[in-house]
């Protein structure tokens, strides 16, 4: 009978911080732009240039550290990591090895089956991003663009606490939400503002020693991560089963081929010769500074979830979806503050908003309509000014252009028609022109009335008060 294996996974997550400028110079971090148009002597490694640390980078790093329950290193330093590669202009990367800014943290993840588990964070350090290499498919050259060179990163190094792709994805999602709530990064895997390297090893179930691990790079979607984990797990098990050794190495995942290959070459000795960066001075984070950063921390998802159920009495399921993004949560809270109708607000967000976001394939961050317009719409329905089918149409308008619903209803004359005499005439016409349905209804086919209601609505361009139509029909039949 085949042996049972356990997969042991640790993650190195790189997150691009949302600063306006690079970590060591005043160049913009804006995306796009022609090659090397966001560069200066510092981020291109010109001789004689010197780095100066961007204060905001420290604040973001500390904020993330606090939010992930880390100990903040109040006296931290930068080190040089030496290796030659063309995207690295100085041929060393300024990073942190000996005194990283955060240590010994952890976050709690929740799995599909509701089981909760804490994933330890070994450390978080600050470093600079590399430039971009554009490969010429046919020629024998690569082009170097340093626009991204020097963009600030934090690297979040987890403990080897994960055992499955599901745990890995839950952990990444947890980090993403925390960091987005802090506004420290937009954390988009596809766009590379969040990158995960997977350290994976396997061992016989129950074994106490870890197996030899490999590091997997180039994973830019949750799906890719899941596939890569599966493939690497099997590759290592096959090696072990066939009596071969797993080599500790860095591998690169090709998601199209669903295959990874070793990146080692005899030219990279993997000996980074770290030493204290002589061009930068230590960072000392006073208790007061630490408190100022702590005071600025937002209410995070976990707190919101339980407050929503307590204060707003909305179902846990709704609360979870709404708090997936801070934008959505803020929109919810601000709208409720105006129209004090949590259930209806959450319905609009859960159903119509989600539907349209999907249709336009937009992120919640891109929502344009304001809380008070949503509140107005809800009030229009509650107050019987418009009926729900009109409301949907008004909402779509508002979603597109953040139109003021009241003005729009006014202008387009969409108010609900509740004039009994007027409607009575229309209903009589409908009955007269649909003898068949009338016949069916009278012979007991209850639902035939639905058709008649529909016809009446049509005749009133959807503005009629549905309750009243029902009442009238029942009377007249």
């Amino acid at each position: 009978m085949a042996k049972q294996y356990e997969t042991v996974i640790g993650l190195e997550v790189h997150v691009e911080l949302a600063t306006k400028t690079k970590i060591f110079c005043g160049c913009s971090t804006a995306f796009g732009g022609e090659p090397n148009t966001h560069t200066c002597p510092v981020c291109t490694g010109m001789p004689g240039s010197l780095p100066v640390l961007n204060k905001q980078v420290v604040e973001y790093a500390v904020a993330v550290g606090l939010a992930t329950n880390c100990k903040i290193t109040q006296y931290c330093k930068f080190d040089r990591k030496n290796y030659f590669y063309p995207d690295n202009p100085q041929n060393y990367q300024i990073s942190q090895l000996y005194l990283p800014i955060c240590r010994d943290g952890g976050v709690e993840i929740e799995l599909e089956n509701g089981e909760k588990k804490t994933i330890g964070i070994h450390e978080i350090h600050m470093e600079e991003d590399a430039g971009k290499l554009i490969h010429d498919e046919w020629g024998e050259n690569s082009l170097v663009d340093f626009n991204r060179s020097g963009v600030p990163l934090i690297e979040i190094v987890s403990e080897p606490d994960m055992r499955s792709a599901e745990e890995v994805i839950a952990y990444l999602d947890k980090l993403r939400i925390i960091i987005q709530y802090l506004g420290a990064s937009d954390c988009k895997l596809q766009e590379g503002s969040m990158r995960a390297d997977v350290n994976l090893s396997v061992r016989e179930a129950g074994a106490s020693e870890f197996g030899t691990r490999t590091e997997m790079k180039n994973l830019n979607s949750f799906k890719a991560i899941a596939r890569a984990i599966e493939a690497e797990k099997n590759r290592q098990i096959d090696l072990i089963e066939s009596g071969e050794a797993v080599i500790q190495e860095t591998r690169r995942w090709d998601d199209n081929k669903e295959y990874s290959y070793a990146m080692r070459s005899k030219e990279d000795a993997q000996d980074y010769r770290y030493f204290p960066e002589p061009d930068l001075v230590p960072v000392e984070i006073s208790d007061q500074w630490l408190e100022e950063i702590r005071a600025k921390q937002p209410e995070f998802r976990t707190q919101k979830l339980e407050r929503y159920e307590r204060e707003y009495h909305i179902p846990e399921y709704d609360a979870k979806i709404i708090t997936e993004s801070k934008k959505m949560a803020d929109l919810f809270e601000e709208t409720v503050a105006i129209c004090s109708n949590p259930k209806k607000v959450s319905n609009w967000l859960m159903v119509e908003t989600m539907r349209l976001l999907k249709e336009h394939d937009m992120e919640p961050e891109e929502i344009r309509f304001t809380p008070d317009n949503l509140a107005k719409l809800i009030n229009l329905v509650d107050g019987g000014t418009i009926n729900s089918s009109v409301a949907k149409q008004v909402f779509e308008q508002m979603f597109e252009y953040n139109t003021d619903p009241e003005a729009y209803v006014e202008e387009k004359g969409l108010k609900m028609d509740s004039d009994e005499d007027g409607l009575k005439k229309i209903v009589e016409e409908v009955i007269a022109s649909n003898p068949q349905s009338v016949e069916d209804y009278r012979s007991g086919k209850e639902k035939a009335i639905g058709f008649l209601v529909g016809q009446t609505m049509k005749a009133t361009k959807g503005k009629a008060n549905p309750g009243m139509i029902n009442k009238l029909l029942k009377e007249l039949l």
């Binding site: 490694g45 001789p47 010197l50 030496n82 170097v144 010769r273 770290y274």
Partner: protein, 488 residues
């Protein structure tokens, strides 16, 4: 050329007084360059005379209009070739930067330009400032103006020789382990290395970042004080730059050492010290004593450990600082190569000279896994102990006095054969860099061969003024004597 015998400050005075024009000063410098440069080879690059004269005109206007009033306005200066100068070739005397024209000018040079100094050229040096003779330059050795068979010292040999040979009024050098003070002593000029962090390193092509400092090279102490006052500044572009309470160094130009406590380290007068040098330096000490200073011999510990510690730290930092020279962004790239890493290796192997490669190899080794603690951390710990030794000494003494170098200038070609012997020549200067202290070398006589000898005064951190005052006081006892150059 009489004009070039003047000090920078004297030249500036004459210009301000209208006795001479900026163009006269510039022409004088070029005349002297045309006469002696072929023998001295102090410059890697002499700027286009026409362009410099254009600049001279501009500056003359600003002086006439009263916009420029400083003591260096209109004075022709030379810059060591490891300081970036926008659009002007900056080679570090290396083949790998043979075609490099920086996009910006280093802060210290900007400060000089703001003061109206006229840059006439970039001076020769040991390649990337690694050496003590200016023989490791890819552009030929610089000769000692006092005797063309001898080296000018290094690594700022070009700047010191240019000043001694009167090819400029004054110059900037850089000092990582003695690279201003030792060649100043060999060339009979005055050179000052400020407290670490006093002059911005922005634009100085790094050798040992934690040790490098830019400083003045001139004919006398007054010039040095004036130049230092001009180039020193707190610079936000240099994180290691120190905000000092005051930058007024010229107020220390007073003849007074009464009661000044000067310590003389016994260890600085042991084996390996040339007899003539010993005599000259001790006589210089007597001069200060006569003028009221209190001399005292004492034991400065760890003297012998400074050099090994220095070579570990400087080489380690250099191995990383010089990694950027890879044929991708600027400078030399090898002609033929197979793939990226071969391009790196060939470019660097062809672009760097032997001494630079030696230090990069050593530096890479001491940082490599398994050796980092034993070598690099050990050296940093030794540095801490050496700093403590100096702190202790300065509890008792205002200044430390000794030779700048154990010998006078050696003959060309004598030193490179035995690196360690050459390194030992920096024994009195290196510890000053490790401890971040200010030091100055002042001419104090010549040896039997007629080669200059330098007296070194070492001050406590941020105590340049004490040092300058003592140096100035000593200087009053002797008048400046340039080399009598035999023109071929």
């Amino acid at each position: 050329m009489e004009l070039m015998k003047l000090t920078a400050v004297e030249t500036g005075k004459k210009i301000k007084a209208g006795e001479i024009s900026v163009e006269d000063a510039v022409n004088a410098a070029f005349e002297q360059i045309e006469t002696v440069e072929k023998d001295v080879n102090a410059y890697v690059t002499v700027l286009e005379k026409a362009c410099v004269l254009e600049k001279a005109k501009e500056i003359q206007k600003k002086i006439d209009s009263g916009e420029l009033t400083g003591p260096l306005a209109g004075v022709p200066v030379a810059i060591k070739d490891n300081m970036c100068t926008e659009g002007i070739l900056t080679t570090c005397s290396s083949k790998i930067l043979s075609n490099f024209k920086p996009a910006y000018t280093s802060e210290a040079v900007l400060n000089l330009e703001k003061a109206g100094a006229v840059i006439i050229g970039k001076t020769n040096m040991d390649e990337f400032a690694m050496g003590s003779t200016t023989e490791t330059s890819a552009y030929g050795a610089t000769k000692n103006p006092w005797n063309f068979e001898h080296v000018p010292g290094g690594s700022s040999g070009g700047s010191c020789a240019a000043v001694a040979a009167e090819e400029c009024s004054c110059a900037l050098g850089s000092d990582t382990g003695g690279s201003i003070r030792q060649p100043s002593s060999f060339c009979g000029v005055t050179g000052l290395k400020p407290t670490y962090g006093t002059v911005s390193r922005y634009g100085l092509i790094a050798y040992g970042s934690s040790l490098d400092q830019i400083g003045p090279v001139a004919k006398d102490v007054t010039d040095c004080a004036v130049i230092l006052e001009t180039i020193a500044s707190y610079d936000q572009k240099d994180s290691t730059s120190v905000k000092r309470e005051e930058y007024d160094f010229t107020s220390a130009l007073k003849e007074d050492v009464k009661g000044l406590k000067i310590g003389i380290p016994k260890g600085y007068f042991g084996d390996g010290l040339d007899e003539d040098v010993r005599k000259a330096v001790l006589e210089a000490a007597k001069v200060l004593e006569k003028k009221g200073a209190v001399l005292e011999e004492f034991d400065l510990g760890l003297v012998d450990y400074a050099i090994p510690a220095y070579y570990v730290i400087a080489s380690a930092e250099a191995s990383s600082n010089l990694a950027r020279f890879d044929g991708v962004k600027y400078g030399f790239r090898t002609e033929e190569f197979r793939g990226l890493h071969n391009m790196y290796k060939k470019t660097r192997s062809e672009g760097f000279g032997a001494e630079v490669k030696r230090r990069i190899m050593l530096g890479s080794f001491v940082l490599s896994s398994g050796y980092f603690d034993a070598y690099y951390l050990k050296a940093l710990r030794t540095k801490a102990l050496i700093k403590k030794e100096f702190d202790r000494a300065f509890e008792t003494y205002d200044l430390i006095l000794g030779p700048a170098a154990p010998t006078t200038a050696p003959k060309l070609g004598e030193s490179l054969s035995d690196p360690i012997k050459m390194y030992l020549g920096d024994i009195y200067t290196i510890s000053v860099n490790l401890a971040g202290l200010p030091g100055i070398s002042i001419p104090c006589g010549t040896d039997k061969k007629g080669l200059p000898i330098g007296l070194q005064l070492i001050g406590n951190c941020f105590e340049e003024k004490t040092m300058i005052q003592a140096a100035y006081t000593f200087e009053q006892s002797r008048s400046y004597e340039g080399p009598k150059m035999v023109q071929r």
